[in-house]
């Protein structure tokens, strides 16, 4: 177990290195410069700016300088905002996004699993249909449309929920709903189909024929097996939610990392792009690792290779 984790961490570090390298050179290869703007700037001023930020050096030399700094955990100063350091911005923005992502993830799993089970067990056709219609809607309606609809109905029409930022618990309701609609739909479909599948298994019939009650068969033997694919899906899903959604963060004015990424690329803010890439890399690599460990923890059939 320990050896497995160490191995995974080492692979993770290697992945990060490759990610950093590839992103760095890709980023430098896109045309555009952080200092150009609508107004024509004096060519001499542009040259002075490039020199000051070391952008006149060969790309490989810039890369070596950057790597040396990153090892010291120095992600540098933002290009688009003088006096602001990438590390500080990340430390400020990341908790906001992660918090929202975790909430949306937890909400999605709770609601999704419940709906899935209800649909799978219900004898009434309309319940089944209703859940399936909701689930289909959820995977096909894009999140910005849903967010806008939520804002218009609950914000502008009925004025129940505030629309700016995440100041109070009430502020969380709409963004969490908008973020979790897709994973709710996906989780409920996954739970439902997996549950129906499992209930047809021989061991369920065996358990029933041995006289176990319907409820305890479903809970002890059915659910336990039916939820395995959901747990496997949950890891990457939560990791994805934690990396932030540009659309949702922008619409609800949430100062998280999703919106930072888009503006960083637009501004050619090289240090910010790199900082975000490395940060998101670490987040996703560790989330995947955790989710793998969790699957092994829940499912005794998964064994770590020695």
């Amino acid at each position: 177990m320990i050896r497995y984790i160490i191995k995974r961490v080492l692979i993770g570090v290697l992945t990060l290195f490759i990610l950093t390298t590839v992103t760095f050179f890709l980023m430098k290869s896109i045309p555009g410069n952080p200092f150009t703007s609508e107004r024509f700037k004096d060519p001499a001023i542009l040259a002075a700016m490039n020199e000051k930020y070391g952008l006149d050096k060969p790309v490989f030399e810039q890369y070596i300088i950057y790597l040396k700094n990153v090892v010291k955990l120095d992600f540098g100063e933002m290009y688009s905002r003088k006096g602001f350091y990438v590390k500080d911005v990340l430390l400020e923005a990341a908790p906001v996004t992660i918090r929202l992502g975790l909430m949306a993830g937890a909400f999605a799993l709770t609601v999704g699993i419940t709906l899935g089970i209800v649909a799978a067990l219900s004898k009434k056709k309309w319940i089944n249909n209703l859940v399936m219609v909701l689930a289909t809607l959820g995977v096909s309606v894009p999140s910005f449309l849903l967010a806008l609809m939520l804002m218009i109905v609950f914000g502008v029409k009925f004025k129940i929920f505030p629309l700016i930022g995440l100041k109070t618990p009430l502020h969380y309701v709409l963004p969490v709903l908008a973020l979790s609609f897709y994973p709710i739909s996906y989780t409920s479909r996954l739970t439902r189909s997996s549950m129906i599948e499992v209930l047809k298994k021989d061991y369920i019939t065996l358990a029933r024929s041995k006289g176990l009650s319907w409820v305890s068969t479903v809970v002890k033997h059915g659910l336990k097996n039916a939820l395995l694919p959901v747990v496997t899906y949950a890891g990457p899903m939560i990791a994805f939610l934690m990396t932030g959604s540009f659309v949702i963060e922008n619409l609800f004015t949430i100062p998280g990392i999703g919106s930072k990424m888009v503006s960083a690329i637009g501004n050619r803010d090289y240090s910010m792009i790199m900082g975000l890439t490395i940060f998101l890399g670490i987040l996703i690599i560790s989330a995947t690792l955790i989710s793998d460990l969790v699957v092994a923890f829940v499912d005794p059939r998964v064994k770590f290779k020695k």
Partner: protein, 553 residues
């Protein structure tokens, strides 16, 4: 099964805990206890609130309300005195002497001429490499040209001098008719040497600073909100009613619109263009008019593709060196049709020169003065066709040209209208739409036949537009005309305002009508939304806002 629920509950608890440790500062627009609060939504993150550097529009919305200079613009772009009590100009137009009003910083210390000297020298020390706006000093003030990024002790030659505590003398390198307009720029603002260090800006975001404006910083959080409170020590504080201004950072226009309708904000400064239609005739619609911005087509008239930014190599196209072809392109543009397609109502107007409305001329508005004589360029399809046919172009021999622009609905619509209109004169227009920075690179490098251009103004003088095509100011010399250069050079040194404006009108006529180096399209403004009943927002044609005299209903 138990394990699954354990995991889920751990997740939930974690989320709740994290939510708990979030910022618990009191919410924004709660205007309890009769406090007068204005909640403003701004369209992007403000930079450091340092007058020397923070010169983008959004940062200016804040800086202009916490610091004050000698002058500020009125609604139509004339500089009106703020900290300046009186001033004299020497006969040769070189020496300006200002008397400074009795006024104190928010900590009670007198605002002195020495503060102005420090402010100017600090901007110079920061240098043009950090803030392009310091060139608004170094290009004009005597002895400042060589002081760019120089240490303070080497700036004794910079002719900004404190004659006594309340008298400031500025000597120019050459006469400049619009110097008072330059003094509205924040690089000329006074700063205190004991609080504003050299070559550093983060100090400016703190709340315990001496401020010279109507408000003081209460909190600064650039990714979410900036709060200002009334400065009781301000020279005209008796007439300030607002207690607090909350700036919410809301990059999404749709979000601003909805938060305005939801009642969470009082003043939405960046809302979708079509708001002008949905709010047409309603009291909430707020349009800064005149608002100085022009939209035009810039032509690579020399085929120069040797600009220094960017790596894409351009291909020089000799066709556009022919002024008649350029003229045909200009004749073929039907601005009324373009406006109909863009469908932005009174936000936009047809533009017939490079200088948009809102820039003062000799007696009134520069653009209106020029248009009253004649439109420098007008729609004349028959003339355009005749030129093209005389050059041998026709339905079977189309002229291929590229038009570069960046990808946005607005720019793409303009490009398509031009494509359709130029097709009439046998031009096969290849629209190349790229992302913004890629486009900037290509344009400044000269890598285009035709490209869109749009510019707002820093100082309110026609020169800001006309000297764009002064060849030394261009990276790639897409216009390189000694006659035009000498016209601009001559205008620079003219003092008599009427003669100077005549010269500038002549230069514009040469640029737009005679040589057709650019094709003007439209001027425009942006819609904003203001809660009905709120009055007293001061605006300038550069888009600046002054909240000092706001009255809430």
């Amino acid at each position: 099964m138990k394990k699954v629920w354990t995991l889920l509950s751990v997740l939930v608890i974690l989320a709740v805990l994290l939510a708990g440790c979030g910022d618990s500062k009191s919410s924004g627009s709660s205007a309890g206890s009769g406090e007068k609060v204005l909640t403003v939504a701004i369209g992007g993150e403000p930079l450091n609130l340092d007058p020397a550097t923070g010169n983008d529009a959004v940062t200016n919305y804040i800086v202009a309300n916490i610091y004050e200079g000698l002058f500020a613009y009125d609604t139509v772009g004339n500089p009106v005195p703020k900290l300046a009590e009186s001033w004299t100009v020497s006969d040769d137009g070189l020496v300006y002497t200002f008397k400074i009003k009795p006024a104190v910083w928010s900590d009670g210390v007198e605002i002195t001429a020495a503060d102005f000297v420090y402010g100017v020298k600090r901007s110079l020390n920061y240098g043009a490499a950090e803030t392009y706006y310091s060139s608004l000093i170094s290009d004009y003030v005597a002895g400042a040209k060589d002081a760019d990024m120089a240490p303070l002790e080497d700036m004794d030659d910079v002719m900004v001098v404190a004659l006594d505590d309340k008298t400031l003398e500025i000597t120019l390198a050459a006469p400049c008719a619009y110097f008072l307009s330059l003094l509205t720029q924040k690089t000329y603002f006074p700063l205190r040497a004991d609080v504003a260090p050299l070559a550093e800006s983060t100090w400016a975001n703190s709340k315990d600073l001496p401020f010279s404006g109507a408000f003081k910083i209460e909190s600064y959080n650039p990714s979410s909100e900036v709060v200002l409170v009334k400065n009781d020590a301000w020279r005209d504080a008796d007439n300030v009613e607002l207690d607090r201004i909350i700036y919410l950072v809301m990059p999404d226009q749709q979000a601003q619109l909805m938060a305005f309708e939801n009642g969470e904000i009082d003043f939405a400064m960046s809302v979708p263009q079509d708001t002008v239609k949905t709010y047409d005739g309603k009291p909430e619609l707020f349009i800064i008019d005149p608002y100085v911005i022009d939209y035009f087509v810039t032509i690579n008239a020399t085929g120069d593709v040797t600009g220094t930014t960017g790596e894409q190599a351009g291909v020089p196209n000799p066709v556009l060196q022919d002024v008649e072809i350029r003229r045909a392109l200009a004749f073929a543009v039907n601005r009324e049709e373009l406006l109909t397609v863009l469908d932005a109502g009174r936000l936009q107007y047809a533009l017939y020169g490079i200088v948009p409305k809102g820039i003062p001329g000799a007696t009134g508005d520069f653009r209106e003065e020029a248009d009253a004589v004649e439109h420098l360029i007008d729609y004349d399809l028959e003339a355009a066709k005749a030129i093209m046919e005389a050059k041998g172009y026709g339905p079977n021999n189309m002229l291929k040209l590229t038009y570069k622009t960046n990808d946005s609905t607005f720019h793409s619509t303009v490009a398509q209208v031009l494509q359709a209109q130029w097709k009439e004169i046998y031009v096969d227009l290849d629209i190349q739409m790229t992302e913004l920075r890629v486009f900037f690179d290509a344009r400044s490098q000269g890598n285009f036949d035709l490209a869109r251009h749009a510019n707002s103004a820093d100082y309110m003088d026609p020169m800001i537009y006309l000297n764009m095509y002064y060849s030394a100011n261009l990276d790639a010399k897409v216009v390189n005309d000694p006659i035009y250069d000498s016209m601009i050079k001559e205008a620079e040194s003219m003092l008599d305002p009427v003669a100077r404006m005549e010269q500038l009108h002549a230069a514009e006529e040469y640029l737009v009508k005679e040589m057709v180096y650019i094709i003007p399209l439209i001027g425009y403004s942006n819609p904003e939304l203001l809660r009905a009943g709120i009055t007293g927002i001061g605006t300038g044609p550069d888009g600046a806002v002054d909240f000092a005299y706001v009255r809430l209903p």
